[in-house]
């Protein structure tokens, strides 16, 4: 069973890749840091444990400038690999530009030791498509599929006004630090719509109305694209349950169009496509 | 599913055989018909010509009775009752003013929602042709039937919504299911003169003659009807027509429910075949149905 370090070291020694992006222990217990290992020695610092919660595919996007002539190796969990699929699907990179080192994963925890919501309903445990596997393919896990949208059920029971109260209390906390945007691998736009001033669709201040239109925009921009890696919710120090918005979008896209983000890199993005028999019972 | 049964006056009197045959056929098909308690006359054709409001309030009172007694569907075999119930329901639903007046006259709620079906609709929509096909034990092979619809069943079409007013097929389909052959003929929706039989008998004789002639030309052995008034004009007056036009008129006129009853193997006398003025037995025996 090839360990992560050996694979990485081999790649760097053979010069197949320009760097290996992986995890290394952080400065605070329970935290891990990202490491851009460029030399075989640096590869030794690579590790993988239950605290490797970051979605490293964010470093493949353009503004980080890591993608060069040579491919880049990336340590990927099952969820991260689905993000790579979406990035390929959206012309941000080509499959041959990234060497995927898959790691079997049975759930990751954030720095406070709380298991991520996504892991409870994750049945895949290892990426579908990869170039090398560091470890054994774990036995498939039987997961009740309804778990995936369980968290949304509490909202169906609430009336619109109750939902409004809930979300206004949440959005009121937002400080517009945009950590949710910057932590998301799929928010790779050079200049985000909130920074556009001609015209200013979303007000930059932290009033609840401005926060509402920001979070509605963010959720809708990720509809049909977000694979539920949970980084936005983890990065939000104000503890706003952003993951619920994305999960609701994933549920609507799945219910209405049977489309699940990140399944395949060749599929046509859901909102750039349509079907003649799409549902329309809400149209008069 | 139990249905509110609204026989109407004639089915308790001159058209008793329509009532018996309906009951027998429904029992055979286990469609439970429960007569509406204390129903009143629906006003038939004359009422609404003399007083428009009463012409609506009378039949609507029956619907209110049915609603109070927990029926959500009312079945009326007689075409005139069916027509008046449907018209009353239509008027009340489409005009607030009429609804107010009827509420005042009957003294009870008018925002009730009762479904009104004719007996042939019950067979077609509730029982369904597919199940009806299997249930006929004695097919009426070789019997040629001219199905006569008359006016009240079909018109005004926006209100009755039973079938295409110009080219109805429901009774023809039911007849064909029994194994008999429903013949196409031109006069199936022509008027038989209805209540003019008393004041202007001559006109009824002319109109009925034309209808019977047209049925005979089409090769029909019997005429099937679904309205006591049509039955009266066509069956009762064949002798007078014969006398007036100097020809023999003896085409039997049966109720559609009697036809279905025969095909279900029910005893003809129970179906009331003996009480017709034109005796149907010779024709039925000739076609070895009896």
């Amino acid at each position: 069973m090839e360990t992560l370090q050996n694979i990485a070291q081999g790649l760097l020694e053979r010069g197949d890749v320009s760097m290996v992006i992986g995890y290394t222990p952080g400065t605070i217990p329970g935290k891990t840091k990202t490491i851009f290992a460029r030399t075989p020695e640096a590869a030794q610092k690579l590790t993988f444990n239950e605290n490797c919660v970051n979605n490293l595919s964010i470093y493949l996007t353009r503004q980080y400038g890591n993608i060069g002539e040579k491919p880049v190796a990336l340590v990927v969990k099952a969820c991260d690999a689905r993000t790579v699929n979406v990035l390929i699907q959206e012309n941000q990179l080509k499959r041959e530009q990234v060497y995927l080192i898959a790691v079997p994963c049975n759930g990751v925890k954030d720095e406070h030791g709380v298991e991520q919501g996504k892991c409870k309903s994750c049945a895949q445990r290892v990426p579908k498509d990869y170039d090398a596997l560091a470890g054994e393919t774990p036995a498939p896990v039987e997961i009740d599929p309804t778990l995936r949208f369980k968290a949304l059920e509490q909202f169906d029971a609430m009336s619109p006004d109750e939902r409004w109260e809930f979300w206004m209390k949440e959005f009121e906390k937002c400080v517009k630090c945009y950590a949710c945007r910057q932590a998301c691998p799929l928010c790779y736009c050079e200049r985000c719509i909130t920074d556009k001033t001609t015209p200013r669709w979303i007000e930059p201040d932290t009033s609840t109305a401005a926060n509402l239109s920001w979070h509605i925009t963010r959720a809708f921009h990720l509809a049909g694209r977000c694979i539920g890696c949970g980084e936005c919710e983890r990065a939000c120090h104000q503890n706003i349950p952003l993951g619920l918005l994305n999960r609701k979008m994933a549920k609507e896209v799945f219910d209405n169009f049977g489309y699940r983000a990140g399944e395949s890199a060749e599929a046509k993005p859901v909102f750039a496509d349509f079907r003649y028999d799409d549902k329309e019972e809400f149209i008069r | 599913m139990n249905y509110g049964y609204f026989p109407g006056c004639s089915l308790h009197a001159t058209a008793k055989e329509f009532n018996d045959s309906t009951k027998l056929v429904c029992d055979k098909l286990d469609l439970e018909l429960k007569e509406i308690d204390k129903w009143i006359c629906c006003g038939a054709t004359p009422a609404h010509t003399t007083n428009q409001e009463l012409g609506i309030a009378l039949p609507f009172a029956n619907l209110q009775l049915a609603a109070d007694q927990g029926f959500d569907t009312v079945v009326a075999p007689c075409a005139a009752c069916f027509n008046r119930l449907r018209s009353a329901d239509f008027e009340v639903k489409h005009s607030g003013y009429t609804a107010e007046r009827v509420g005042y006259i009957t003294g009870s709620r008018t925002d009730i929602n009762v479904r009104i079906l004719h007996i042939i609709q019950l067979f077609r929509d509730e029982y369904g042709y597919s199940r009806l096909k299997e249930v006929f034990s004695k097919p009426l092979k070789g019997l040629k039937v001219a199905n006569y619809y008359g006016c009240l069943l079909l018109r005004p079409s926006l209100v009755m919504k039973l079938d295409d007013p110009e080219n109805p097929v429901i009774m023809d389909e039911l007849t064909n299911l029994t194994g008999a052959e429903s013949v196409p003929w031109a006069f199936k929706t022509e008027c038989c003169g209805a209540s003019l039989a008393i004041p202007e008998t001559e006109i009824v004789l002319d109109l009925s003659k034309k209808i019977i002639d047209s049925a005979k030309n089409a090769g029909a052995d019997v005429i099937a009807v679904a309205c006591p008034l049509c039955h009266a004009n066509l069956d009762m007056r064949q002798k007078q027509i014969g006398k007036k036009f100097g020809a023999d008129y003896s085409t039997p006129v049966l109720y559609i429910t009697q036809l279905l009853g025969l095909a279900l193997g029910i005893d003809p006398s129970k179906l009331g075949l003996d009480s017709h003025l034109v005796d149907p037995y010779p024709v039925l025996r000739a076609k070895n149905i009896l």
């Binding site: 959206e90 012309n91 001609t198 669709w201 496509d273 | 022509e190």
Partner: protein, 666 residues
């Protein structure tokens, strides 16, 4: 700073009655950037337009708002007027205070307030307009005519005579359309073959016309001046380049009993046939469904006897791609069939026997009986037993003007051809008597009413004003029960033959074609013209024109007139070397585009593709979307799928729409 002029129109009474135009002008004058605001009785009139032009010069306005009718009506008029000043026409916007305000509201106070709001909206929008340049696009100097009836032929000939290439497409094996089926035509009773066949021949032989028969339009893409059309040439199983039209194959074909569509089911035809003797092109077609060879592989009689072996059983449908600059739709009509299976909410005629009785025929069938090339060679014989009918009853308005049957319109030509039928019947059966049940005789054309009077007074047709309630067969006769409202009596006629003047309806398969062309249609599936009075032959899709009965029921003179009108429009369009097109196209801000490619997938016109930006060493900097301004039609779908808002659509930019919304409820 912007200097905006507001011009409020009374439109005579149309706006002035429910909107207080002087108040609108006064309120608009208070707006921040409005430096000139006035109201006038008729802005679109000459003095009105001059007032606008003078104001622009005098107050050197940077934008103009005309508060009057709908932009779809007079935007072009006012923009042309503004063009004469040095202000760009695209800095003129219209506030729709007539169709969408004064005409639809009654409360004067509310309507006036709404008008003020609508003007404010447009003032805000016009401040963000930019002086756009119309886009010049090349024009393909070739026209496509869909439909080979008299309208299609006339349009094709006129265009070709304007030495312009024409491609004519006809669905059935021969051109000629319904006119070829007629015997003689009103009001001059000249025989349709004599006046039509020469046009058909010249259409087939004209050097500028390329004729495709037995061919349908498969797909249409592109836009005015640049349509890419794919035609499906259905397999004829006869090689049209070799066949000389000698007709041997039709004689030898064992299948003789197939009912002929051309003869409306009254005559018969073989499996390999030409629809009618004067068919153009004179090349037969094999009816795949009924040819014995195609059914069970035997026979091939036609192949044996064809000395040029022009029969090709293995022929398949052929697709032809052509580029055209303009399209004329002349697909004609179809007779309403009184049978049961009618679609689009149209009902059959149970009262007249649903078309089951052979002696109750429609007028096109009667035309075939009258026609010399018809199944009875011009002799009027009853389809049932071939006897010459002594009493013929004609029924007008069968289906037409009948809400219950789903067709409320008048089919316009039945009164005239029924009068013609009574005349021709009288000339052929001297002792015969024609009855006509009619509602109102509509004979409004030149010499039309005189024609009908002649049918009544000279040829003795009895016209009974009333409807027929029932027709039924009684032995050898057809009993027609109707009313004669003029004498107030019921009428019963024992007729030998009944001819129904059934309604004119749209072609059954017109809707898919209309959708391919992007042309609108009304609830009866007649194609919608751009404007009933001012643009009768144009449609809302630029470059696509209409002619003939596909637009609405009409007779031959009108169809020919419309065909020539459409031809004139096409010649006008194609005469220009290049076309000016609305400059409403989208543009990408490459600095902020993330190259995600959503817009590339979403564009209906495939006008967007990927463009790699590389530095001087050829190293890829980034991928961005690139919009080909020639193909872009300005629908704006790409704007909505662009998450970083890096695309903007000229004419409807984000800034403009944003400013409109922002000033809505001040």
């Amino acid at each position: 700073m912007a200097r905006i002029g507001v011009f409020v129109c009374h439109c005579g009474e149309n706006i002035g009655r429910t909107v207080d135009c002087s108040v609108v002008a006064k309120e608009s004058a208070k707006l921040r950037d409005v430096v000139y605001s006035v109201d006038y009785k008729y802005m679109c009139s000459d003095p009105g337009q001059i007032m606008v032009k003078d104001a622009i010069k005098k107050h050197n306005l940077t934008g103009v708002v005309i508060a009057s009718c709908s932009p779809l009506m007079h935007e072009k008029t006012f923009r042309r007027a503004v063009q004469e000043t040095e202000l760009s026409p695209f800095l003129c916007e219209m506030a729709n205070i007539r169709e969408q305000c004064s005409w639809v509201h009654e409360d004067k106070v509310l309507a006036t307030k709404k008008a003020v709001d609508l003007v404010r909206l447009m003032v805000e929008k016009v401040k963000r307009n930019t002086p756009l340049e119309p886009i010049r696009i090349p024009v393909t100097k070739r026209a496509l005519v869909i439909g080979g009836g008299i309208a299609g032929i006339q349009a094709a000939l006129d265009i070709a005579d304007g030495n312009q290439e024409v491609v004519m497409v006809e669905k059935s094996p021969s051109i000629g359309g319904h006119m070829a089926q007629l015997s003689e035509t009103f009001p001059t009773l000249d025989c349709s073959q004599c006046i039509l066949t020469p046009k058909m021949v010249s259409a087939n032989s004209h050097k500028n016309i390329k004729l495709y028969t037995y061919t349908e339009v498969e797909s249409v893409t592109g836009y005015i001046g640049n349509f890419d059309v794919t035609l499906r040439k259905k397999a004829r199983y006869v090689d049209d380049s070799i066949c000389s039209g000698c007709g041997i194959c039709q004689e030898k074909c064992p299948q003789k009993k197939i009912s002929s569509e051309f003869n409306t089911g009254l005559g018969k035809r073989p499996a390999i046939y030409i629809p009618f003797p004067q068919a153009v092109p004179n090349i037969p077609v094999i009816d795949k469904e009924r040819c014995t060879y195609f059914k069970n592989g035997k026979c091939k009689a036609c192949e044996k006897f064809c000395d040029r072996n022009a029969i090709k059983f293995d022929q398949t449908d052929e697709f032809i791609n052509i580029k055209v600059g303009a399209i004329v739709v002349a697909t004609g009509y179809e007779m309403y069939n009184i049978g049961k299976n009618n679609k689009n909410g149209i009902k059959g005629y149970g009262e007249y026997g649903c078309g089951e009785d052979p002696d109750i025929i429609d007028s096109l069938q009667f035309e075939r009986l009258l026609s010399a090339s018809g199944p009875t060679f011009g002799e009027v014989k009853r389809p049932s037993d071939g006897k010459v009918p002594e009493t013929v009853v004609f029924l007008q308005c069968v289906g037409s003007r009948d809400k219950a049957k789903g067709m409320e319109y008048c089919s316009k030509i039945c009164c005239m051809y029924t009068a013609k039928h009574t005349m021709l019947y009288k000339h052929k059966v001297h002792h015969g008597q024609a009855f006509v049940f009619y509602l109102d005789i509509r004979a409004g054309g030149k010499n039309y009413d005189e024609f009908v009077r002649r049918a009544i007074e000279e040829d003795g047709a009895i016209y009974l004003r009333g409807r027929v309630s029932k027709i039924y067969r009684e032995g050898d006769k057809l009993i027609v029960k109707g009313a004669d409202t003029l004498s107030g009596s019921q009428v019963e006629i024992a007729a030998d033959l009944v001819v129904l003047a059934t309604a004119i309806t749209a072609q059954p398969d017109i809707v898919p074609l209309a959708q391919k062309l992007g042309v609108g249609y009304d609830k009866y599936h007649f194609l919608s013209e751009a404007h009933p009075k001012l643009k009768p032959v144009e449609t809302n899709s630029a470059g696509i024109f209409l002619a003939g009965a596909c637009q609405a029921p009409k007779d031959i003179p009108e169809s020919v007139a419309q065909a020539s009108a459409a031809a004139a429009k096409v010649l006008g369009l194609c005469s220009a070397t290049e076309l000016e097109r609305e400059p409403y196209v989208a543009k990408v801000y490459e600095s902020t585009c993330a190259g995600c490619g959503f817009c590339i997938e979403a564009c209906p016109y495939k006008a967007i593709d990927n463009k790699a930006i590389v530095n001087r060493q050829g190293k890829l900097i980034k991928n961005v979307a690139y919009i080909n301004q020639g193909l872009c039609q300005g629908c704006g779908t790409c704007l909505s799928v662009c998450r970083s808002k890096s695309i903007d659509l000229a004419g409807f930019t984000d800034e403009q729409i944003f400013s409109e919304i922002n000033s809505l409820f001040v």
